[in-house]
Point group: D2
Chain length 354, copies 4
């Protein structure tokens, strides 16, 4: 692990997009990492970042440190041990292995390799031990670098909500319906004419991702492989007119009897490695339970823990599966850029990267 | 059954509210019914309807026939065999029995008496035979009139979607998450500051209503009583920034094996008494199945069948319960005013009223 | 003028876009015109219209008559004396003269030739006599066909509101601020992430169009040329989260003293050639004045006169210019497809086309 | 002036409403003022603030310091030299003079006394010298305390934008159209059914307030009286579906010739007493000019200078009045709570209060 006196140079791939901008913003005040390189589309390569980007986050302009960086083409070479990828899936599929082969530790938000058997699909509060896959990955692929992925923006908060339940009671079956923010579709993403006074009850591949990523994330690492958790999961995903914050209505069947109060107690007691290690981007607590009848709400709860905490509410019995509740997470922070950052922080803290 | 040469005079209670306005609008072009009286709050009683109402429907003004009617106080006496109630629950609880006692046939949209054992909770396409309760109701309560209710605005479309499945396959368990329109909360209802860029994941008493009304609606009428259908139901209800149209994401366990195509066939084959009798407000078909990946949508599908049809889409397997799908209904038309109207039309056609 | 026993075949250029869809919809019930050909992008040419189009209008599907028409490439040849153009500006610039040269009467919604000195910029209620330019146009350009344009979607309603004032009092100066609907930007147009909980106070070239088109529209036709009306005009244009309906806040200085009541009287008395001739798409009245304090509103007034009437309200004194008022028009109906249609109807009725 | 070692106790009247909550939030981190008392409606008086309030600001809960304060009735007596009033107009009319008579310095956001000839209508960057009215006010009314008001939420940003122009060039005439946020109407305020997919082109009394408050604010203080600035002003006000941030489209006629660049230079050079004195709530700069084609935007610019700066853009020639531009201000911060706070800070700094 390199000395923290000197911050580790990092690169952001796909730096002008919605998630790319979140990376840039979150890195601008990061104590361990220093933005050293940014890549974008061929078309705009060569421009300064400040020139190439149309800044769309609520903060009124990009951070000063990023403005003067030259935007590199997607396949550029650069010096930065850590790379954050906000690439679109098709580009990620091609570029990410290339960078791992060049020796970078790639922390990817793309879905391309999430389900690969030698690639960790990691949420530091849940499955930091899945980093054990990396040794096999490097050996089998011959990479001096490595590739670590984080889950889909709606999976993260669901998996995080399930983790303390799995630990305390076991989780057997889950039904979830999501109401997802427009920022989840990137930019320009959802046309205003499609969503104003409307709901779009379909997000391509999202239900499949939630169902199978949840099983891998909560799976067991043994003998350099992940055994998926045997959770029967079913998801329905919708898009609503909300800027940021994915809401999930969850019904869950536990492995043993419990009361709502027991679930709440399990969530409130939850602390994991990122909290113990006080990683810079780790929220503490990671899970907030609210008791008002009408929370969590995207507008009012998405910024909890600087967007890195998840907020749970309306915990109550379910006639069908035993328990139901609502969980909210900030989809471009906890569900994307912040997820990759936290993964990188964990591996740096564990001495695997840096 | 009275001759149709002369239209039956009807009254609307609570005529200035959101659902009241829908009644007025739908009655303005009704072939059997003629608006004869309107009631409103004490405060505005005595004004002409055109003066008392602030018209909020998309049509730019109230229908001419209503403009000059005097707004009567809630407990006014009037001549009109049929009464449509859009009263708030507390007022309905008091006034509706009074009117039944005075000899009116009251078709109520309020929740006050929906679960009373001698009051039909009726959807003509599903349980016209529940009208059999009326005889007992009149006898036991000593009413010359009668009281018939329609379900909650989000229950109707769910029950209607389940009916053909219950008939063909049996329905054992159901999980539903709703995304409900702001008009469902009446006017002024939801404050814009609460819903713009937000979701409110709570609607008071709504989940309970869906769970137990569905059982009564699909129940069996025998010996002057309803045996609730033994469907295990669990609901989660949310409010979204949509003007009209409640969307429901449903998972369902059937009584026997079936494929998605079998469900679609059952829905498409569905025709019931209102369609057979060609009741004026009956949609034909009552159930529309769309095959696009991203339908139904509130904005694009709520006006199907003049707002009286329900639209189903995304029929697909569910890992948990076997089948899942999305269903949409227009909450202030099919889910409220149109529901009462169709109930009245059925009883007129059956010769019970009029 | 051709016999009306047989409807005139018409073509729609750019038929899959937002305005193109409005053309298709309005033509589906047109008594004089019959949809005979549709063109679209090269990429989708060859598909059936029903296959090529993603229908986005509130009606749930394209009209049956259009579904089976083959989508022709932009430069296709076809038989149809009348052509409606919903082409993007760059394509219109190239294709429209070509079609006029082939003998078609082209009614264009594009901005390419609006300000050309030999091309009528026509609103039938205002300047039907500008059709006099056509003789010069055909002679000088050697076209067997012709090209007639309609104004920008926000200009039309403003010009229409000014016309009766110009006739009765003279109009010297005008300031206008518009609040324009997202549909004005086409599809996908405005990204939801840019407009939800926001206003974009800029629409490229829109202010210039309003300022100079108004002068040409209200100009005088003499000696085969238009002398622009000497109205000093200044516009500020903004985009708001509204689906359809452009709102304009207008201040105006008249040529002589008048009271608000005089303006209202002038608007209410206004009837022009389309109303006299009872053209199929002509609203009657063309101008509606509402007296409520808070009208017109896009949601509640955009469909007045089937979207072809404009609605004026809040007529009151202006400390600066004398008078101020609000005017609303449906931007994709009166402001686009309906505008072209009405132009064509007028020329057919005048015997110039058909 | 009291020592700043000890913070000055302050009270907030109407503390549970929208503006009241902003006061509470801004005071929670104030270096000079300490929240000592809160008042609310009779109905909730006696409850703790944390119990009485339904917190609606984006921060997820009220600041801890406020939670335990008892909510006092409107006419309660309390110890706090400085009082901030977020009372509704009718209550303010009655209560504010009472409190001034009891010796409090009342900083009011209500409109009741803004136009009274002995009450300062103050914006510290513009007319700190209007505080000179206080001596006359106390003398004539026999008040040991005093009453200072701040302008209407949409006037403030307009007056602030005009100030540097008035100083450098003179301002003769102004036309303004506003697009105002829903929070300006308080809570529950605008019903979602009235504003979703809509604009309401009317806000009661708003246009009159802008027109005449601007003249008083920019007026000259002499001989213990204000001579209104002779600016001919005309306003049109609309409500749009935006949470926070009033946008104003301004046309202005200056006293002498100038170029857009001259106006921009005047705005950029502007610094006033609050900036010189580094008052805690003073933004620096107070006026930000942006050069992008499409700014300012409510969503992206409302938080500039912690919501206390105004943002100007689209400075360009106006054919009618010479110049036009767009200006944005945060209506519940700069336009309400922050305005009162800054007034209080100025008078404390000047030694008039505290």
């Amino acid at each position: 692990m390199i000395s923290h006196n000197k911050r580790i140079p990092v690169a952001v791939l796909g730096a002008t997009g919605m998630v790319g901008q979140r990376f840039i913003e979150m890195l601008s005040r990061h104590p361990w990492f220093e933005l050293a390189a940014v890549t974008g589309s061929e078309r705009r390569a060569g421009q300064r970042y400040g020139e190439a980007v149309t800044w769309r986050l609520p903060s009124s302009a990009p951070p000063p440190a990023a403005l003067e960086l030259p935007l590199l083409p997607p396949d550029a070479e650069f010096d930065a041990p850590i790379v954050f990828s906000a690439l679109p899936t098709d580009v990620a599929t091609e570029i990410e292995p290339l960078l791992a082969a060049r020796g970078h530790a790639v922390f990817s938000n793309a879905s391309s390799y999430r389900m690969a058997s030698d690639v960790p699909l990691m949420i530091p509060e849940i499955n930091g031990d899945h980093a054990g896959l990396i040794a096999r990955q490097r050996r089998e692929r011959g990479w001096p670098g490595m590739l670590i992925t984080n889950p889909n923006c709606s999976t993260i908060q669901i998996a995080l909500a399930l983790k303390p339940l799995a630990d305390s009671f076991g989780v057997k079956r889950m039904q979830v319906t999501t109401l997802q923010a427009i920022s989840g579709a990137g930019y320009p993403g959802v046309a205003s004419y499609d969503i104003l006074d409307n709901v779009v009850p379909y997000i391509s591949q999202e239900e499949e991702k939630i169902e199978r990523e949840t099983q891998k994330i909560l799976g067991r690492f043994e003998d350099e492989a992940i055994t998926p958790a045997p959770i029967v999961a079913s998801a329905q995903c919708t898009r609503v007119a909300v800027r940021e914050g994915h809401l999930a209505c969850v019904s869950v069947e536990l492995g043993r009897d419990a009361q709502s109060a027991d679930l709440i107690a399990a969530w409130r007691a939850f602390r994991a490695e990122p909290q113990e290690r006080k990683l810079p981007t780790a929220p503490d607590p990671a899970i907030i339970v609210r008791e008002e009848a009408d929370r969590p709400q995207p507008l009012r709860d998405r910024d909890a823990g600087n967007g890195m905490a998840i907020v749970i509410g309306r915990v109550r019995p379910c006639a069908l599966l035993g328990h139901k509740f609502i969980v909210l997470g900030h989809n471009t922070v906890r569900g994307a850029a912040g997820a990759s950052l936290l993964n990188a922080e964990l591996l740096v803290a564990q001495g695997i990267v840096g």
